[in-house]
């Protein structure tokens, strides 16, 4: 049985998808690649915006893109340390 991803893992996956797409991806492909239900994706997405890990940009044609913020890049960079810390202290 496939283990359910925990919250931090899902956040990391979403941010990594954005980064792999040259830090610019539309919401619909992001939903598809993230392997989440629409509702769960919406919850995570609003959390990411609220925590300023991603931001929305609208181009000249009025299309919405999602980009990582500096904090978002920092999260990806520190992810292994975060997981290591949580494991080390049984948090």
């Amino acid at each position: 049985m496939v283990k359910k991803r925990d919250r931090l893992e899902v956040i990391h996956d979403i941010l990594s998808i954005v980064m792999k797409h040259k830090n610019q991806i539309k919401p619909t492909p992001l939903l598809r690649y993230s392997n989440l239900s629409s509702q769960r994706f919406a919850d995570y997405y609003s959390e990411l915006l609220k925590k300023e890990l991603v931001r929305e940009v609208v181009d000249k044609k009025g299309k919405k893109f999602i980009m990582l913020t500096d904090k978002g890049f920092k999260f990806i960079e520190k992810y292994k340390l975060i997981i290591g810390f949580i494991d080390e202290f049984d948090l």
Binding site: K51, K71, K78, I82, F85, I86, E88, F89, D90, L91
Partner: protein, 224 residues
């Protein structure tokens, strides 16, 4: 002619050790709190949150403990007109309140997924308040220290065997257990020396500092 002051009760070495120990423990605790700030701001992880609060409270609790020690020593030594029996015990109440909360938060940081935070916050504050108020009436670190010991041992084993899937002690659990034991022993040092043999308190402080240094080093490893 006034009676000679009982200067023999004041031990400069003991005072220096207490001061050094307090400052160092506070520094380590606050540094752990500070070092984990970024991890928490990136993740909003509840376990990290309770871990940080536990060390903040552990750092804070050493301040009233030291003031209690200071007032006790100055009352016995200099014959100052410090109303120790009422004034000093306010710091003992603060010590018990903060330390009980700190140790409960430390245990809870590992088990926050299993127990609703609302119930935990109510329970821990109530529990800490009862112990702190009791310490005011009993006015003895010894009785409350034993009460803390019994309740923590019970809480620890309920959590360990009730909630954990892995029924074994991890390295961190052992470290937390040491933090708890050394905290309780450091409380017993505040009572007359019949309980802790002479010189043993220095050894206790050194081992306690080593435990905190190990935790600090582990934290530093993951918070580069």
């Amino acid at each position: 002619m006034p009676p000679p002051m009982p200067m023999h009760l004041f031990n400069p070495l003991r005072f220096s050790v207490e001061l050094f120990y307090t400052l160092l423990i506070m520094f380590l605790c606050f540094f752990i709190y500070y070092k984990t700030k970024e991890l928490y701001s990136l993740t909003d992880h509840k376990g990290i949150y309770y871990f940080r609060i536990a060390f903040l409270l552990l750092g804070l609790t050493h301040l009233p403990r030291f003031i209690f020690f200071l007032l006790k020593v100055s009352t016995f030594t200099q014959g100052f007109m410090i109303p120790f029996r009422s004034f000093g015990h306010i710091f003992l109440v603060a010590t018990f309140y903060l330390s009980t909360l700190a140790l409960l938060y430390l245990i809870y940081s590992s088990y926050w997924k299993k127990l609703n935070p609302k119930y935990f916050i109510i329970f821990s504050n109530l529990f800490a308040l009862i112990l702190a108020v009791s310490s005011f009436f009993y006015r003895s670190p010894l009785i409350i220290g034993f009460a803390q010991l019994i309740l923590f041992v019970v809480a620890f084993f309920i959590f360990l065997f009730g909630f954990r899937k892995k029924k074994r002690f991890s390295k961190t659990t052992v470290l937390y257990l040491f933090v708890l034991i050394f905290w309780l022993l450091s409380l017993f040092i505040l009572v007359p020396n019949w309980l802790i043999p002479w010189g043993f308190d220095f050894v206790l402080y050194i081992v306690s500092l080593i435990v905190f240094l190990i935790i600090y080093r582990k934290v530093s490893k993951w918070t580069k």
